[in-house]
């Protein structure tokens, strides 16, 4: 898939996110829209569901299930008719990722801070099993305030897990506040580099930069890579961008129409590139 096709797929995944959260009238839309470019690229480039041994993705910022389910829907793993059941009773589509109902979900998460450690365990086991696939941990910036993250940063570097790629979705907003006002993470890249990670800082909503950063990470040996993705919460929907209100919330019919119109315009724009 080339960059243009990846951009179109990510845009379609944005439509899926808006659809799900609109139909459910609940769900975390802002952080799903900020992470979707990277998530789309990872699954397209490196996750092969037909292989028994394959790369794994731990969505540690588990509240952004709309992004994960959008990707799995694009892969045909979640059927179109299931998408309206998100967060409803008797659904496979739990509010946070749950391996018990969807086997292609690689880790049960939701309690912030745990996913990077889970990925460390997967990466250690994969090395022992001579499985050359990768493990991705997708962590939110607010989540970086969790103590367990820093435990697992130590461990990932200690074990030189070059099959582990940490993605930080740095959209600068946590549940209601500027993440660095609630607890300052800066200088974030310097800190992670000091933990003996290879670091790459990119615009995480730019597909060229996303793909290039992954290609770079695959070449790194003897240390884990962290890709710090500067992103925009609510990216792609003008009235949601950088607005803390859209961490989680209901989308009205009018807002839904506006959002879908913007995504259609973006689709046309990409097609004309």
């Amino acid at each position: 898939m080339n960059i243009k096709e990846l951009k179109l797929l990510a845009n379609n995944n944005r439509k899926r996110i808006i659809d799900m959260v609109y139909l459910a009238q609940t769900g975390h839309v802002g952080g799903s829209l900020s992470v979707i470019d990277m998530l789309t690229a990872i699954y397209e480039i490196d996750v092969n569901f037909t292989s028994e041994k394959r790369s794994k993705v731990v969505l540690s910022k588990g509240h952004t299930t709309p992004a994960l389910y959008a990707v799995l829907n694009s892969k045909g793993i979640i059927k179109d008719e299931e998408m309206s059941s998100f967060r409803k009773i008797n659904s496979r589509l739990q509010g946070h990722p749950y391996t018990g109902t969807i086997k292609e979900v690689d880790a049960t998460t939701g309690l912030l801070g745990q996913g990077l450690s889970i990925a460390v365990g997967m990466a250690i086991a994969k090395k022992n099993l001579n499985d050359n696939n990768n493990v991705y941990a997708i962590v939110g910036d607010g989540e970086m305030q969790e103590g367990q993250i820093w435990e697992s940063l130590l461990q990932a570097a200690h074990y030189k897990l070059d099959n582990l790629i940490l993605i930080i979705d740095y959209n600068k907003l946590s549940s209601y506040n500027d993440v660095n006002e609630s607890m300052n993470l800066e200088p974030l890249v310097t800190k992670i580099k000091a933990f003996n990670f290879h670091t790459i800082e990119i615009n995480g909503n730019n597909m060229e930069e996303v793909v290039n950063s992954l290609e770079e990470a695959y070449k790194i040996k003897d240390k884990p890579t962290a890709i710090i993705c500067n992103t925009i919460k609510g990216k792609g929907i003008s009235f949601m961008e950088n607005n803390p209100k859209w961490h989680t919330g209901k989308i009205s019919e009018e807002e839904y129409e506006m959002a879908m119109k913007e995504l259609k315009e973006e689709e046309d724009r990409i097609n004309n590139e």
Partner: protein, 311 residues
């Protein structure tokens, strides 16, 4: 019962090595206590399957989850207060996914006497048994430890094994341990049932001997499988004996006494029950035996509770 006294904790590494020699899915995770926990021999024999996580218990538990996600069988061995307490939400998340993680908690209850109340794990049974999917086993001798680890390996899902750091009489019951089954250690009659969890085996045996000498004819029961628990067995017991006393190296809140009461409280008629264990208090430093005696685990207390429920 004049058996040799042995420290069950000392056997953890040896037994894990036995199984690991036949099953290369078995891993051990450590948090800088391999020496205290006697699991260094595992590290020496199987360095690739020994994961030193550092003093980072929460992350260690989640690493175990990740290893289990790749089809392996990790045993996270640590002090009970850390593996069930410090890492509780990580364990809960692993259990929610029904991951094949195994926890061995030692230095349970007041075993670690001198370290004091901060290190006394008097809540670990309560902490783990409320989590869906988690099985809870408490061996009382080396044979049961080996059987508990075997059950844990064969069972697909999270298992917590509570292993005493204290000494226990090295008895061997013929009966094989089973998930969901308790054991009748001695059956002299229906005056009472004394039910203990494995880490308080020594004091339970001594108290049973004293009761025997006093002429009472009761039953000595090793609960072994706290979860699942053999409800039918407990119900039958409560229909036949005059009274039940539970003995646990744990708080009386949320432990085995509570569990048995949860079963019996659903009935109109059952034998009265009394609890021996730590009352709702924090303990203190001291020689382990002295601390246990002071906080309820003494022969006089057990005998008097048995006599009270028989009235």
């Amino acid at each position: 019962m004049n058996n040799e006294m042995i420290c069950l904790r000392d056997k953890i590494g040896e037994v894990l090595c036995e199984f690991a020699s036949k099953d290369d899915r078995i891993y051990v995770l450590d948090s800088d206590l391999a020496n205290s926990l006697k699991i260094l021999q595992f590290q020496e024999k199987y360095p690739k399957r020994f994961v030193e996580a550092g003093i980072a218990e929460a992350s260690a538990m989640s690493i175990a989850s990740g290893i289990a996600s790749e089809g392996q069988i990790p045993f996270y061995v640590n002090f009970a207060i850390f593996v069930t307490g410090t890492a509780w939400t990580q364990l809960r998340q692993a259990a929610y996914a029904n991951l094949n993680v195994k926890m061995i908690g030692t230095y349970v209850g007041m075993d670690n006497g001198p370290d004091g109340a901060s290190h006394h794990a008097n809540e670990d049974i309560a902490l783990v048994r409320t989590i869906p999917n988690v099985k809870v086993l408490i061996p009382s001798n080396v044979k049961e430890l080996r059987e508990a680890i075997k059950i844990a390996i064969e069972h697909q899902g999270p298992v917590y094994i509570r292993v005493t750091r204290d000494v226990v009489p090295d008895v061997e019951f013929e009966e094989e341990s089973k998930l969901g089954k308790s054991k009748i250690v001695e059956d002299l009659g229906n005056d009472f049932a004394l039910i203990y969890e494995g880490t308080s085996a020594a004091i339970a045996y001594k108290s049973f001997e004293t009761l025997k000498e006093k002429g009472y004819k009761g039953k000595l029961i090793n609960i072994f499988s706290v979860k699942p628990i053999d409800e039918e067995f407990i119900n039958n017991l409560a229909s036949n004996v005059k009274g039940i006393v539970t003995v646990e190296n744990h708080s009386i809140l949320g432990g085995i006494g509570s569990r048995i009461a949860e079963i019996l409280a659903q009935r109109t008629n059952h034998a009265p029950i009394a609890y021996v264990g730590v009352e709702d208090v924090f303990t203190e430093s001291g020689n382990s035996t002295k601390v246990k005696e002071k906080y309820g685990l003494n022969i006089e207390n057990i005998v008097s509770k048995v006599e009270s429920v028989m009235k």
